[in-house]
């Protein structure tokens, strides 16, 4: 079975590719400068010149949504990368060495999990001050625990297998075994978690920006566009509808892909399909 027999996964992947192309080639595709303010064009409804209309400063919403995808993808992927690297590293160490080390790392995980993720991110972002980098730091800090737990679980069962003993009998060191034998075993679940994680990170980053402690205006960012558009929601709903749809579609696409990957990479879900 290939991944693309799963229609939703295929749709997800196509959408992600389209968004990525849009983000990379934004300067070529965007009809207008996303930051150019033409006040006499303010709050215009969608037209040929402004496909998604204009906002309260007369900026082209389509161009801003397009440029916003750059920031959202960047933040989403970076957060997922950092938190999965932290999670994988700690999970590998924790599961492989066990004992006191495991106990300490897992209690740290428990402590982090005891706080509601977004609230903790709010506090961290509030302390560090607004800005793209701080959003990444804050959300990476609250997103790694899931990876650590999953990786630890896999390592706990894999390290008892005979191939580990076999590697030891060949003279492999702990580090060698962790890197060459444990890591390949944890990579599948991590890929699945990460693909869903990107969507969640984008959503959270937009949330922080919406609350004003994320990416700051005038940088085109979906969350802050929603925030500044909410005042005009009754008279000019296109200010909020388009960035909102952009967030929804992107997150949905990553979720579809993640679900598809799970079915594809999980050997047990293949068995069920044979029946």
């Amino acid at each position: 079975m290939t991944l693309f027999k799963n229609k939703l996964a295929l749709i997800g992947l196509v959408i992600i590719v389209i968004i990525a192309i849009g983000a990379v080639f934004a300067p070529l595709i965007a009809p207008n400068n996303p930051n150019e303010q033409i006040l006499e064009q303010a709050l215009k409804h969608p037209s040929i010149e402004y496909p998604f209309g204009t906002d309260e400063f007369g900026r082209c919403i389509f161009s801003r949504v397009l440029y916003g995808s750059r920031i959202s993808l960047q933040i989403g992927v970076t957060i997922t990368f950092i938190s999965s690297v932290i999670g994988i590293t700690l999970g590998l160490i924790s599961g492989f060495y066990g004992g006191v080390i495991d106990e300490i790392i897992m209690r740290i995980v428990d402590i982090f999990l005891a706080f509601p993720g977004l609230i903790l991110a709010l506090v961290v972002a509030g302390l560090l001050g607004p800005g793209r980098l701080n959003v990444i730091i804050a959300l990476s800090l609250v997103g790694w625990m899931g990876y650590a737990r999953v990786v630890r679980g896999v390592v706990l069962s894999e390290k008892e297998k005979e191939f580990v003993e076999n590697a030891r009998s060949l003279g492999a060191s702990d580090l060698y075994i962790i890197y060459h034998h444990m890591l390949p075993n944890v990579i599948n679940p991590v890929i699945i978690m990460a693909s869903i994680g990107v969507g969640y990170a984008i959503l959270s980053a937009a949330g922080l920006s919406f609350l004003g402690i994320g990416v700051q205006p005038p940088t085109p960012e979906w969350g802050s566009m929603l925030s500044s558009g909410k005042v005009y929601i009754q008279t000019s709903p296109h200010l909020t509808i388009f960035p909102g749809i952009a967030i929804m579609i992107t997150v949905l696409a990553f979720n579809f892909l993640g679900d598809g990957l799970r079915d594809y990479l999980d050997p047990r879900s293949n068995i069920q399909k044979i029946e």
């Binding site: 005979e162 191939f163 003993e165 009998s169 060949l170 003279g171 492999a172 034998h181």
Partner: protein, 312 residues
């Protein structure tokens, strides 16, 4: 001087129920190029002895005594030096081919492990060397197999891959831990053939841990019979298998299907039990009062060492 000399080896596992003495007072020598068989029933401590030599036992195990390899005292070697020994000097051919390969790593990179760990070879040279080894073991088209994952190969192929992995470091001593476990007659013959080739072509010494007497008889120069953590009889393969002295060895041979399938009555004592005399006492047909009360010394009869009072 022997290649490997095990002197007074005791391996004890500390468990909640008490001390499990898996190997007690083991003495065993292995010469360069020699094949020594370690036979005995399940749970007699054969594998623990093999793993003791490699110093690869769980944390609750304590090994005492001496294991001298060449002129190194293996039990007192720091762990980084011991890693240099494993795979390069002493290598292990593991029990079950099905689970001893990492299921998510391609065959190729698993074969190259030994080369990378010990010889620091560049990848292309290492690939050529491993193809040579696989050809030696009768695995043709091995380059194609490099791209496969373990589950795509048959058991026999996996066995040969593992054999190849275990000799990539060009070890002087190979410990084969029940290499024929769970294999059918045809595969067994293949493995025996493989081990024969391996030792003859590379001049490697072999410590063959097995409970298959036929495999042992067709491969070994020397045989040591283990019972309940002790070596009860040790001598040349021919003598031990054709003219055994110890009642346990005799019973073991009688229990073979072609000799009438007469099993020894009873069970071997738990390794937790401390017994003052012979551990085979309760099952022995030749027992007398002396056996149960005092430690049994080794006796040399016609070049065979036997641990039994029956030959005074």
């Amino acid at each position: 001087m022997p290649l490997l000399s095990i002197q007074n080896l005791n391996t004890v596992f500390y468990s909640k129920k008490g001390e499990v003495k898996a190997c007690s007072n083991i003495n065993l020598d292995l010469e360069q190029g020699e094949i020594v068989g370690l036979i005995g029933e399940t749970g007699c401590g054969k594998s623990v002895l093999g793993m003791s030599v490699l110093n690869l036992l769980p944390n609750n195990a304590r090994i005492s005594g001496k294991i001298i390899y060449k002129d190194l005292d293996l039990l007192n070697l720091p762990s980084n030096k011991m890693r240099q020994i494993r795979g390069k000097e002493i290598s292990l051919l593991p029990q079950s081919p099905a689970t001893s390969l990492n299921p998510v790593v391609k065959i190729g990179s698993q074969i190259l492990e030994g080369f990378q760990l010990h010889r620091g070879m560049k990848k292309d040279i290492a690939i050529n060397s491993s193809i040579k080894i696989l050809n030696l073991l009768g695995l043709k088209n091995s380059e194609k197999n490099f791209k496969y994952y373990p589950h795509q190969l048959s058991g026999g192929m996996k066995q040969r891959i593992l054999a190849a992995i275990s000799i990539t470091g060009n070890p002087s001593l190979l410990i084969a831990d029940e290499p024929t476990k769970g294999l059918d007659a045809l595969m067994k013959a293949q493995v025996v053939d493989l081990l024969h080739k391996l030792t003859k072509e590379t001049g490697t010494s072999l410590l063959l841990i097995t409970h298959d007497l036929k495999v042992a008889s067709s491969l070994c120069d020397e045989i040591a019979v283990m019972y309940s953590g002790e070596i009860v009889e040790r001598g040349s393969a021919e003598k031990v298998l054709n003219n055994p002295y110890h009642p346990y060895t005799q019973g073991l041979l009688k229990s073979m299907p072609e000799k009438g399938l007469h099993p020894i009555k009873g069970y071997s004592p738990s390794l937790l039990e401390k017994l003052p005399g012979c551990r085979f006492y309760s099952r022995c047909p030749l027992r007398n009062n002396k056996c149960n009360n005092s430690e049994v010394p080794y006796k040399e009869i016609d070049g065979t060492y036997v641990r039994c009072f029956g030959f005074d």
